[in-house]
Symmetry: D2
Subunit: 333 residues, 4 copies
């Protein structure tokens, strides 16, 4: 059986998902694509030799088993509600919504219609980070005491994007909030957030930060520190580590290449992969393999609705903490 | 303009090339596939939605710009001669032939019909090894004095394959002979070869070795040592280095993942990529990009006929050295 | 000219300093030793073939150029005042005192008698950390945006020690507060501290923490996160990094040895150096070389009185923050 | 009981040994020093507060338990014979002699007078290389198939020294011959040697090489390749590895420091330790600890006379191979 997936939204990330499904995932196929930008939809349809569809057609078609919600964030919840009502399995890009009440509406629809639902937190599927999580989950490093996560982009997005993004804690650090929950294996109860505008004043004028440091407290007592920068000129820096009572597990950065040059003054190697498309290539493929297995074999969602909700709640609490200057308790839903 | 490529032979390696051309190379397309195993041809044709063709049809078709010769080694030379006569550009998997006279016949045909010709020494296109070559070619490490190359497979091929392979020096170490010429930037004039059967007596009974160490002397005075093993249980070990008068450039092994676990007794990381399909994924893609650029833009072949001939000559000399126990001069053509 | 140094206090750390001065520092000699534990003083005197002295004798002797204050913390200030009045150059182990008013008394004496004064923050002299500091100070990584420091001990000290130590922020993290100031190159203005008892309840019963995470804000806008653990079972983990506007500089951990073993299931290397005597061997020697140069050639103190005061002030503010649960402003003196 | 050691020869290496014995080795003391250069002897005697002695005095003194033969190579055998006759335990710097017959004379004296005897192959005591040897000896990597050793100096010695050194195979590569025997755990039966003059023509005019590559065959079937260069401008490069049937063990190079700087164009780290005094500091101390244990507790010599002889025999065979151009069988004594 092939899982036939309709892709809703084929901008940069949606197109990437469509190409991966079509070319790399055994047992999955792109059933059709939709985009409000008709030219974009046509281009991807042409490349992958699949039909352009309207949302209505996609949700009505018996030949569509699942939808991938890859459109702009403000459209996610309505599409999830409609797809759930149509009985389709749902993959939703992160974040489900910038608004917790909206997230809850989407999750309620998923619950009501009992459709499979998975959130696209791709980093969980990166082999390096996954190996860290396994080391913790298997008990090899014991009880988690301290976790450290660094996520740094090579360059900031356009300010226009930043204005509608929800800001650094909800747009960017949301991945780290998810990974903190994932690798530590415990919910986050408290947040202290600080940050600064160091890279581009226009980001500050848009009400956002480009540099941020957050301290989390988990239910199991682990303390996690996360730092984000919108501009690490040396590449896409993605590290995490968990210190536990019997050891430590960490993600080092893979490098762009493994050549080294030694001279009389230095030992010199390549920079990091430039950005997420270079660094996380494997994670997207493995994410889709997990989705297909989930649809075929059932079982718990690889990244559930609750997993989609919690990082949004932490991000909102982080903004509260940043603005108030004191630690804030996280809404546990 | 799209370069339309007919793939001759779609066994494991030919199928991989066909999939890469179809899915990953902008400006290239698979025009059709041929295989003596009709079921194999049909399966790939079906997967990529391209026609099955006979060799005659492929060479006669005005819609085929180039052929990829990926069939068994003993068929390469005849196919090259026919494709050259038909005016097709040619990509040929290594080795061109196990017999130098046969190689020369193929190169004569290429010369006579003046068709573009490239040999599939994919390791030249690996970003790590390429960075080493660039460091040497740019003069950063000065005059090459000593080079070291290690190539070790995770597991030996079937003995049936070994019997027709030409043996370790022509089948396996041929890649290292090519890379030695490539990174050192100078022809090889002398070979001393030694080896042993340490892994599987059946390999020895087939007249081959599974463990080999070779010393090369280059025209520019550089001394190169190469070691090969058919079975490094820890994965596909692929390293090279060039010590020069002003520095050293080396390929380290990329790892399967970049996670590390620290405990009270050890620091533990992942193994190497298992084999060439995992390790050299990028190199195959970049190789095809180079071929397409070469067909479109002209210029010298990225891996010329002479580049295809030299490693065969070195491999043959290595067998002579192994059997005679003394160093042997290499046929320079 | 040889700098003749009297060592006040030859417990574990004082004895180490005395041995380094005697055996490894060109241009320095141990003039004599004192300890309230007479047997300890006699043992070191015997080993190094130097006299045991009283404090009075040491301060009165024209053959003593400088004193090394290595006695218990509560005796530092009085010894500094007396040595300054005697016109001796002073090296003082960290911390100068657990009490800021006491620190100020000591610094006032140094100021009044205009004697050379250096605080023993040895990590500044570690070649790895020093290279990070130089990369920042030279402008190579641009304006500092985010710094991260991890210091983790392999095992906690006795609870008896902890009770008089001033607690984790003043006893242990004081090194990181110093290094944060040193590598970032800017004073610390604000502290947010959190922590936990995860390793040994007896540490909690003594009013202390064994796990702590602190966020600092520097005058130049840099945000620094520090984590400390009293028990990282994998060894003495000492890392720091500074992300700046044009790059990033970091200290990796040197390993106990550089051997690696590869098997079919893992790549395995040695653990970290066990503790500070293994990890920071070089730093202590270089520290004494810096002291000797300072005494001989004059110039600013390598680690001044102000450098000794600031980390104490940050540590006290960290305790305030921990107890109040909110960020606290640091006393700038 | 303290082992009292007389040091015969306190040039660069002898002085280093004397300082280590005096300052770092518990249970050992320098009983006195001798050097044909009286000023050199006086300087070391003064520094360490020990007497200058004649050879006769040293060998006659009941207060001397052992001698360290650190004089020029051509004096070793006579000193060993005399010390053995005097009943002293003997530590001898490598090589015992450049002449096998002379080595055999020395070993015969040791045998006749039944004195403890150890050769100063310090690299065996380097923690990194020792961990590789242990991995092999313990069976962790299985049967050794291929070994690779690289030893490269940062700069060549004076040509005057080279003229009396025995040449690269006996002076420099002798360490690698010893380590090949040590880590592979099997005698060397055959040698093929090649080399070149690439660094300094004066070295060639002195009849020596500055660049050399040697292939060894061991009794157990392992093939070992060794490369040496008198000038690796990037520092003292010391690596070895053993590929076995169940894994691989290798020495990576420790670095001068563990700082890394990342910029938009590169990742940059420190160079290697400059030379043996920086790289092998620990090995010399551990070597003396082994000697002292051997003298006190008995048991087999940590590095026996046979261990001292074999590398000389291999070096002589290497010169034969180099001059004849063909592989040569090694004199097994």
């Amino acid at each position: 059986m092939t899982v036939r997936i309709g892709v809703l939204g084929v901008g940069r990330i949606g197109r990437m998902h469509a190409e991966i499904i079509a070319n790399e995932i055994e047992g999955a196929a792109v059933a059709g694509v939709f985009d409000v930008n008709e030219a974009a939809a046509a281009a991807v349809a042409d490349e992958l030799r699949v039909p352009v569809m309207t949302v209505e057609e996609m949700l009505a078609s018996p030949d569509v088993d699942a939808v991938a919600v890859c459109s702009s964030t403000d459209t996610h919840v309505e599409l999830i509600e409609r797809a759930a009502a149509a009985g389709k399995a749902i993959f939703c890009e992160k974040p489900v919504s910038l608004d917790l009440a909206e997230v809850d509406k989407a999750l309620a629809a998923v619950e009501k219609f009992q459709v499979p639902f998975m959130v696209g937190f791709n980093r969980r599927f990166d082999p390096t980070h996954a190996a860290v999580q396994e080391a913790v989950a298997s008990g090899r490093v014991g009880e988690p005491h301290i976790a450290r996560l660094s996520s740094r982009d090579p360059a900031p997005p356009p300010v226009e994007y930043i204005k509608v993004s929800g800001g650094i804690f909800v747009d960017m650090m949301i991945h780290d909030f998810d990974m903190a929950r994932f690798v530590v294996g415990s919910p986050v109860t408290k947040v202290y957030a600080t940050g600064a505008v160091r890279i581009d004043p226009a980001i500050g004028e848009a009400g956002d930060l480009d540099t941020a440091v957050v301290t989390l407290t988990h239910e199991n007592g682990c303390i996690t520190v996360i730092d984000n920068s919108r501009q690490a000129v040396y590449g896409y820096d993605q590290r995490m580590e968990v210190l536990g009572s019997t050891g430590m597990a960490m993600s080092e950065n893979p490098m762009k290449n493994a050549a080294m040059v030694y001279t009389s003054t230095e030992r010199q190697g390549s920079v990091l992969p430039y950005f997420f498309l270079d660094r996380y290539t494997d994670s997207y493929r493995i994410e889709w393999e997990a989705f297909v297995r989930y649809i075929r074999d059932g079982g718990p969602s690889p990244v559930s609705g609750a997993d989609g909700r919690a990082p949004v709640a932490i991000g909102i609490a982080a903004w509260d903490s940043y603005h108030s200057g004191v630690p804030v308790t996280v809404d546990q839903g």
